[in-house]
Assembly symmetry: C2
Homo-oligomer: 478 residues x 2
């Protein structure tokens, strides 16, 4: 059953033209919504609605069948009732379409009859040289060409363009469910595998390895298919780009829930832990970590060691940060004498790490210059590999000055930093975070996550070194 040959996902992510099969009922039909969303996202290719009941939708000519379309078509998005899907795949094959996303629900996740129908899709596709994503999926996002196949009404049309690829087995990652814009996730590609009847993570990893727009990869997985190939691919990709995995269905009960969600077969948590570790992937443990941790890889250099400096306006947060750091495998940096000399000019107490600015902040009328000088000093310290900054960001009167300060600072930042924004109002805290993210400074909503992100970056730097060592000695033997 399992295809061992390497697939090329370019038709899925970079199609010149897309056929859309589904209801075109205005503001309601799923085909209509896909097309509306593609137009909003600014898709740069041709769109061909296919539906015999319409001659036009959203100003675009519709076709009764895909055969009537004159030009070539690279990708089809299909969201029609389950029994109609096998014949549509056959139509697509006849038209020369090699890539089909089946959005439709009601296959393996819905019971035995659905599983049989899903097998028909697979057989139809394989015998015609067609590759499938899905079924039961919202499909693809590509921020560089405006491709989106999401059939939900997505009320805003800006996703932040960046260099993290997110893949999942749930459409819940889509812009209809997540605050992608508000949280400023820097996205290159997204892929919902749904029931994952054909294309799987190994195919995607292969594609993303060669994708210049993707620096880091985050996978939400319910089950693994094609274990050996997945492992080999994972190992190959992890040597070049960090791969973070949020494995769900870890518990027996979670696995059962997964079976009724995407029809996945899942293994024991212990097996996956061992397998992922061996392949150089890094596991994250919560939904929030899945979204937030990869940001540290989007714009920051890899740390050269694990020595962390913490700059905080409050000693209380400093203690929390130190615990989190040690638990994340980081060491608390011993600041050099030269750094301490620089810090005590601000305040006699500023000699330790965490650098607790509290006492100095209340004595100065220019706390931001103390903060800027402190961050510069610790970044310049050869004993420091990475820095987490606890940033008071809840007060409107300081917000723009704070953002400007980081704009100056980042000009000479050559070590990875993470920022935790906190404050009295959520709206200001989030606004400052967005502005820092826009500068490529990874900014977190939880202190522990900001610290853990650096711990994971340190861990990945080691893993990559080890894997690249292995890879080069392998090739020298080859």
């Amino acid at each position: 059953m399992e295809s061992e040959k390497k697939s090329d996902l370019r038709p899925f992510f970079e199609p010149g033209s897309v056929a859309v099969f589904g209801s075109l009922r205005e503001e309601w039909g799923e085909g209509y919504m896909v097309i509306r969303n593609m137009l909003h996202f600014g898709f740069t290719g041709n769109i061909y609605p296919v539906n015999p009941s319409y001659s036009e939708v959203l100003g675009i000519k519709a076709y009764p069948t895909v055969n009537e379309v004159k030009g070539p078509i690279d990708l089809a998005m299909v969201i029609t009732p389950p029994p109609t899907v096998p014949a549509i795949i056959e139509q697509c094959a006849q038209k020369g379409i090699k890539a089909v996303i089946v959005g439709t629900e009601g296959f393996a996740e819905a019971g035995e009859a659905g599983a049989r129908l899903q097998q028909q899709l697979v057989d139809m596709a394989h015998s015609n040289g067609v590759r499938l994503i899905g079924p039961n999926t919202i499909g693809i996002v590509n921020t560089s060409n405006g491709l989106v196949t999401n059939p939900y009404p997505v009320d805003y049309d800006r996703i932040w363009k960046g260099n993290i690829a997110y893949a999942s087995q749930t459409g819940f990652v889509g812009a209809q469910g997540q605050p992608l814009e508000d949280r400023a996730y820097p996205i290159s590609k997204m892929c919902d595998f749904g029931n994952k009847c054909d294309i799987n993570e190994a195919d995607l990893l292969d594609y993303l390895l060669g994708d210049a727009e993707t620096k880091a990869i985050a996978l939400h997985m319910e089950g693994v298919k094609g274990g050996r190939r997945f492992m080999d691919t994972l190992r190959k990709v992890a040597a070049r780009k960090p791969v973070l995995i949020f494995k769900v269905g870890r518990t027996e009960q979670g696995a059962r829930a997964s079976a009724s969600h995407t029809g996945s077969l899942v293994g024991s948590a212990q097996v996956y832990d061992a397998v992922f570790k061996q392949a150089g992937a890094i596991q994250v443990r919560t939904w929030q970590e899945f979204w937030e941790i990869p940001k540290v890889f989007a714009s920051q250099p890899l740390p050269r060691g694990n020595r962390l400096a913490i700059v905080t306006p409050t000693g209380g947060a400093g203690v929390v940060a130190v615990d989190a750091a040690v638990e994340a495998g980081l060491a608390i940096a011993q600041l050099s004498d030269a750094t301490v000399d620089r810090l005590v000019r601000f305040h006699a107490n500023l000699s330790g790490n965490p650098v607790d600015l509290g006492p100095s902040m209340v004595l100065t009328e220019d706390p931001l210059s103390v903060l800027e000088g402190t961050i510069s000093a610790v970044l310049d310290d050869a004993n420091v590999d990475c820095v987490t900054i606890v940033l008071a960001a809840g007060m409107e009167r300081w917000a723009s000055a704070t953002v400007n300060m980081f704009d100056r600072l980042r000009q000479h930042i050559s070590k990875p930093i993470t920022i935790w924004t906190y404050g009295t109002t959520v709206s200001m805290t989030e606004e400052v975070a967005r502005q820092l993210e826009a500068m490529g400074l990874p900014t977190y909503r939880e202190l522990e996550t900001a610290i853990k992100a650096l711990g994971i970056a340190v861990h990945y730097a080691k893993v990559r070194g080890a894997l690249q060592g292995t890879t080069s000695s392998n090739s020298s033997r080859g």
Copy 2:
């Protein structure tokens, strides 16, 4: 050194009158700020500013010394330079003030000289029958009488009145640092122990046990003082009210950071884990959990068992929820046949738990009635002890209808529920969460926290049963 006698903290939390020692410089002085904040918070008692350089501040008569005040004074808040504090404590004792909060920094947390000065405070207080909170603290909040001793400019004056007491060893818990209003934490009392030279958690627990306004207690602790008495008190209180502890300085490095923050001596994490468990306290592990988990106790009944139902509009979140539930010690409820009969009327697929509403929601024009019917059905099921609801809350057009639906539902809720709000915009998600919190429905920003809160409620219900068993058999022997 250690006072073994039970203290009465009423003068600290329920003073009829408060003397404030500190700079009265307008909009800058810490004494000024304390008084300004008390006026904003609507403190109902008398305020006596004490400062020889002023005759009046904010319309209130100031006194050169506390002896000039005619009436009795219950509490003094002192924020003057460190060397002046011992003499002020002596003055307070002469005036008959038995309760003093020392806000001033620069004692044991600042090194040996500070530690000696702190010892002077303690000696002065003990020899005069005065009890101290602090030094190095923002002191007390009591939402029922408007008492606040926070010397930071607190830009808003509403803290949600509720029935959770939060205590800490950092002023970072204060309204100058946390979004107390935005996040709708239902607060009865707050107490920052600072360096904890005299009054400690055992005193506070004793007081809160008898405080009708407090249903649950959350303690942020760097170190424990008076181990035996703390343990006994903890055990006594935990038999009546849940005590959640966020122990920081868990790691050796964290403990060192704590020493320079509040001068605390801390023990090993393993010792604390064992001690807290034995005493019936429940540990939380992150800054967010410290704030969020206690909410489940504020308004919800204790669960009668560990069988959880999950209602979700997305199967993907359902799988994440199930893993989190099992890891939190919950069981996934087996819905009764009667419940399944009710659910399949909405959609043939609604027979499992998690109840995945996804397929039914897209087929109905009235998704909220399906959601309301589903929540009612699982709450009515005798096989269900508690419910977590994954709530799409990011769209403005549904927000008020969603809140109204919960307003109807909560009339007949007799089992604990938690809600996770998610959505496309942070602002709407937070707004819906605040409105649900206002109704007493604990609403979370992370799915895993919403689930863990119920797991902890189940755990506490067992602990309390065991402790009450012990307590009553002890008394029957007594």
